[in-house]
Each structure stands twice: as C-alpha cells, then as structure tokens.
C-alpha cells in the first residue's frame, strides 16, 4: 500500500498516511511526501495502517525532522500500535516527536 498525502483546505495541516510496512522500501515515497515541504505547516504522520517499522523508518523520521527545521519541526505521530509505540519510546523518539 502506498503513502497517501492529504492537505487541509488552508494547506496548514498535512496528513501523511503511512503504509502497512514502513521500512526502507517506503523510502522514496516517504521522501517525496515532504520534499519542498512548508516548514511552518503542521505535519501528521498517521500510523493507523502500519503494522511494522524498522530502524530505517526511524532514520527517515529523523531526516524529515531535520528538513523541517529540527526542533522547530511540527510533526505529530498518531494512531500507533503498541509495538510501534514501544519501539519509538525505546529510542526516546517520543522526546523528538509528539506521539499521540
């Protein structure tokens, strides 16, 4: 399943829906989803369909965060399954991203 992107009417909120396997194979599509992105917009990464991620997914999240201005990046992670949430917490990523 591919990555889908939806923008709110005013373009201030971008929701990126991630695939069921979010790993290195999603690299190109994921990168495309926020290339030339507006750093002031709010990004929402929707993990609802995601069953599995690997460490390269964490790497991709870091690249996205850097592209959006590191600590100024507004990226929110939503709808994580417990195994993914645990993985994010293990790497302290809940300190870098808002994990809802």
């Amino acid at each position: 399943m591919a990555i889908t992107i939806t923008k709110s009417g005013d373009g201030r909120t971008v929701t990126i829906k991630l695939p069921s396997e979010f790993d290195f194979r999603a690299h190109k599509d994921f990168r495309k989803s926020h290339r030339d992105a507006d750093p002031s917009a709010q990004y929402i990464l929707d993990f609802a369909a995601t069953e599995h991620i690997d460490s390269s997914a964490l790497g991709m999240l870091l690249v996205m965060r850097e592209g959006l201005g590191n600590d100024d990046a507004k990226v929110k992670i939503i709808n994580c399954r417990s195994n993914i949430k645990k993985l994010l917490e293990m790497a302290s990523f809940d300190n870098l991203f808002e994990v809802a």
């Binding site: 390269s56 870091l62 302290s92």
Partner: protein, 587 residues
C-alpha cells in the same frame, strides 16, 4: 522517380551520419556482382574488401575483421554455407552480421541460410535501397550488440574489482573493528553477518582495573554505510576502555563523534556496559536496543528486564543525551543477556515474528542456566525453519562467574604510567543549578581522583560510589524527589519527568562535594563528603531497608556502601560520608 531518388539520398545521409570506418566484405565468385556491390557500398561510405570464394572470405575475415559480410552461396573451393559456419565460429563472442546473396527463393534454401548462422538474405537483382537498408539495420544491431557486450564486460570487471576492494576493506575493517576479548571464557555469543559487513557490532575489552567493558550496537541499515559508522565506534571504544574511561564517558565520546560524521538517517542503537573485576557490579547505559535481561542463576528466573530510555547514539547532540547509567548488583552465576532486534524479529515461514514473548519463555522453564544460551538459539532456529534470515542476529551472554577466568586475564590489569602524584590532598567543589544541568561532576571527579597512583584500578568502584551519592544528593536532596515513585508501575517515567521539571524550576540549591585523600606506604584512603541543600531524611530507616536490601530505593546506596569501608549519613540526612580504602599494590 523523384521520390525514389529522394529515398536514396535519405539512406545515404543516414549512413553517412553513422559512418566511421565501417568495413564490408563482399564474397562472390562473379566479378560483375562484386563490382556492383562494391560500388553501392563505397558510395555509401563503406570501406570494401572482397573475396572470390569461401576460403578467401575466411582469410579476409581473419585479417581485417569487417563489420558486415555479404555472402554468395554457390562458389568454388568453399561454398557460402561452410564459410559462414566457420566465420561465425571464429567470431565467437563478436557479432558479425552475414547477409546471404541468393538468386533462389526456395524456402528450404533460405531456411538453411539462417541455420548455418546467416542473419539475413538478399535476392537478386539487387536494389540499392534494400541492400543499404539491410546493411544499415544489421550494422545498427551489431553496434547495439557491441555496446551491450562492452557494458557487460565493464560490469564484470567492476564487479570483480568491487569484490577485491571488499575483501581488502573487510581485512582493514576487521583489524579496527576486532572482537577484542570476546573469547573470554565466561562469554557466549553469536554474531551472524548478513552481508560481507555486518550492521551489528559487538565489542569487548578489559579495563585497566581488570573489569570488562562491552558494547553492543545495531546500526540503521546494513552493509557498507553501517560498517563505516562502526569504525569510529570501535576505535573510540577500545581507546577509551584502555584509558579507563567510565561508561558515561564512552557514551558521550562516541555519541558526539557519530553525531558529527553520520547523516541524520544513520545512527547506532547501543548498549554500553561495564562489569567489575569480580562481576558483582554491572553498570549499563542503554540507548534504543531491546530490553537487557538479567537472569538469576540461583533462582533460575529473570530478575530484571531493563528497557532503554535513551536516544540511540548519533541522534542528538551531547547536551540532550542523558548519560545516567543504571547499576545492578550481580550474584555469582547470574547471567546478563544482550541482543539485537534480529532475535525478536526473526521470522518463520508464515512471516510471523519470533517476538519478545517467545524469547522470555525460554527463561521460564526453570532449567539450569548452563544451557540457556544454546537453548535460546535452538528455539529460534526451530521457529525459523528454512526461512531466510532477514536481519543481523546477535546474542551475547555474560556469566557473572569470575572463577571461569584464568588468572592471566585477572592479572592483566594494566598499571598505567605512574608519574608521581600528590598523595595527601583535599579538594572542594560547590555545585549549583547551572552545574546540575550542564556538567557531569561525577566524571570529572572520577577522572581527577584516579590519576592518583594506585587508584586507577579502583576507577569503576570510585565512579559507582560518587555517582550513586551524587545522584541521591541531587534527586532526593536538592530536588526532593521521592524514590518510592520509581517502584510504582510506570513510576519510573513519572519520576524522570518530574525530575526534569523540578530541575528546570529550581531557584536555589547546592551540592558541596569534598574529597580527602591520604596515603602511606601500604594503603590509601579516600573520604568522600557530600552535603546537599535538601531537608534531609530519616536515615535510621534507610539502614533497615539496606539490610533487607530488597527495596529498589535503597539499592544504589547499598551498592555504594558495599564497596566502601564505611558509609554513613550525618546531620539530618543531608550529609553523607563514604570512606574508600585500598591496599597499595606492589608495583
């Protein structure tokens, strides 16, 4: 006829554009035919050579390697079929288009042309347009074939070069990223490389005081990028261990190096740990790897599963990295297990993951600890069946039993160069808010103190005593945090959050550390005095819990106390004095 002339001009133009020094061989026993063909081809820019029979054609082919051959069939000495067969055999890998010239239109005859290796045929009488179009088409094909062949050869050479380079790189890599002392008898490990290089990194080295430092790392990705990142990690780990650096110092050095050199998507999940020489103390920093497991050899069950609560190495700058280490006391025969996610993510044929539960189940059988390591591997292999491995698989077991070690290892404690250092001295350090946040006084003091002659070998112990007492003074004294919080479910996280909050809101508050060092010919003594600005506590109560030694809250102090000759709380509990004593080793 204008149209036809135009076409010929177009064909000529196309050929001229492509022409370099294309050479055609015309084979015909009829001189008139040879002349006609030669004329057409040279008009179109071809260099033309000729032969009167098959035998001559072979010789011309060998001598001149023409790009295309026009071949008559019926000829004296050697006919066109045989000549074609032989030329094709001689050409081997090279593609030489051969066009048969024939007066017949018999289908069997035409089929034979193709069968012996001919690429096309032309029927007489000759039309320039058709001949040149066919020659041109075949030359194009021949060019394409040559290009493909050249590219294939280039890839072959490149591939061979790459393999040679990888071999050399592997040699260099394994010299830098060597296994250190993983052959120590109380360690068992498996480290299976997925490719030439390995995303997992397992390092072990003895410390100057005879303890053991271990680093297990799992790089994002595999292969070359992961291997490149492993080089500085390994280099720093061995260098720092040799110099007696503590776990938190190793973590900071490696983190800052990786943060500087790695692109943002690359980082190392890692666990850096130290075992004291007698394997009674296990000090650990944990960033992003799966839970570390501590198994009680006596009770035959897991006594701790330690979850990571830090960033992996190379993600954030040093100022955002927490370097608080966790310290555990071990009993003889306890086992510590470190592993990478390749273990829990091993898949079976149904693409199910092995998972944490199955792993933990291996520890619940109540079997003797001796076969546990092998049992875990067997269970994973059985689960996986024939399914191919998709990630690196690393598992390490440390048996906390120093009696397995040869005296050689235990005596291997390097005594570092001993310049004369002052032997009787004292110093004071006063720390306030900014220092609590920005500095690591424990490291600085350990470094300073252990420069003293003979103390280097006690570095880990002194680090533990200082670290426990300082952290207690800060957390429970200055910040007034209740350690009972930690024993509640999810309490640890609440505790850490609260700690961060109070540290940020702190207005005043101090910790005063004083060290007093004395030494005579036989023994030395270091007295550590720590006073905090907190309101103190009922330390009579602590003594009791220490005796029970079960409660988490008292564990740190009880650890520190077990290392010291004496550890007492004074005043209203905001002052602690620890006396550390050691015999001078015969130098």
């Amino acid at each position: 006829m204008t149209g036809s002339r135009l076409s010929i001009e177009t064909v000529d133009k196309v050929i001229e554009a492509n022409r370099s020094t294309q050479m055609a061989l015309v084979v015909d026993d009829d001189a008139v035919n040879r002349l006609i063909l030669e004329g057409m081809l040279s008009d179109s820019g071809y260099e033309v050579i000729t032969a009167e029979n098959g035998q001559e054609a072979i010789k011309q082919y060998v001598d001149h390697q023409p790009d295309v051959i026009l071949m008559d069939i019926m000829m004296p000495v050697l006919d066109g079929y045989q000549a074609t067969q032989q030329i094709k055999a001689l050409a081997g890998d090279r593609f030489v288009p051969i066009i048969f010239l024939t007066a017949v239109t018999d289908e069997d005859e035409l089929a034979r042309c193709v069968k012996v290796g001919g690429d096309d045929f032309l029927t007489k009488p000759y039309s320039k347009i058709i001949i040149m179009a066919k020659v041109e088409a075949l030359t194009r094909m021949s060019d394409l074939y040559a290009t493909t062949k050249r590219q294939r050869d280039e890839i072959d050479i490149y591939n061979e070069q790459l393999l040679v380079e990888q071999k050399v790189a592997k040699k260099i890599y394994s010299r830098v990223v060597h296994e250190g002392c993983l052959d120590t008898p109380n360690l068992k490990y498996i480290l299976s490389p997925l490719s030439v290089f390995n995303g997992d990194l397992l390092l072990a080295a003895h410390t100057p005081s005879g303890g053991l430092n271990i680093l297990l790392g799992d790089a994002t990705g595999h292969g070359l990028p992961a291997a490149i990142g492993a080089v500085p990690v390994s280099d720093l780990f061995y260098e720092l261990t040799k110099n007696g650096a503590t776990v938190d110092e190793i973590v900071l050095e490696i983190n800052s190096k990786l943060k500087n050199i790695l692109p943002p998507e690359f980082f190392f999940c890692a666990c850096v740990c130290n075992f004291s020489k007698d394997y009674r103390l296990f000090t650990m920093w944990h960033g992003g790897l799966p839970d570390v497991l501590i198994y009680s050899g006596k009770k035959k069950k897991l006594k701790h599963t330690v979850r990571s609560n830090n960033f992996p190495l190379g993600v954030v700058n040093n100022d955002r990295l927490k370097t608080d280490v966790q310290i555990f006391d071990l009993k003889k025969g306890d086992r510590v297990y470190l592993y990478s996610d390749g273990i829990t993510e091993a898949k079976n044929q149904a693409r199910e993951e092995f998972g944490e539960e199955r792993l933990l189940h291996c520890f619940e059988k109540g079997n003797s600890a001796d076969g546990l390591f092998e049992n875990i591997l067997e269970t994973i292999n059985e689960f996986r069946g024939d399914e191919e491995q998709s990630d690196d698989l690393t598992l390490l077991e440390i048996n906390a039993d120093p009696s397995l070690l040869s005296n050689e290892i235990l005596d291997n404690s390097v005594s570092t160069a001993t310049l004369p250092y002052p032997s009787n001295w004292n110093m004071n350090m006063m720390l306030t808010k900014r220092d609590f946040i920005e500095t690591n006084p424990v490291s600085i003091l350990t470094k300073f103190t252990t420069q003293v002659d003979g103390l280097m070998q006690h570095r880990e112990n002194i680090f533990i005593v200082l670290s426990e007492l300082y952290n207690n003074a800060l957390d429970h004294g200055v910040l007034g945090l209740d350690s009972k919080l930690k024993s509640e479910p999810d309490g640890f996280l609440t505790y850490l959050n609260l700690r961060q909050e109070r540290l940020a809101d702190l207005e005043d508050g101090y910790i005063s550390i004083s060290l007093e060092h004395k030494m005579d010919a036989n023994q030395g003594e270091l007295v550590i005095n720590i006073i905090d600005s907190g309101s103190g506590f009922d330390y009579q109560q602590l003594v009791l819990t220490m005796d029970k030694s079960k409660q988490r809250a008292g564990r740190g102090v009880s650890l520190a106390s077990s290392l010291c000759k004496e550890l007492v709380y004074l005043g209203n509990g905001n002052t602690v004095r620890a006396t550390y004593q050691w015999k001078k080793s015969a130098a």
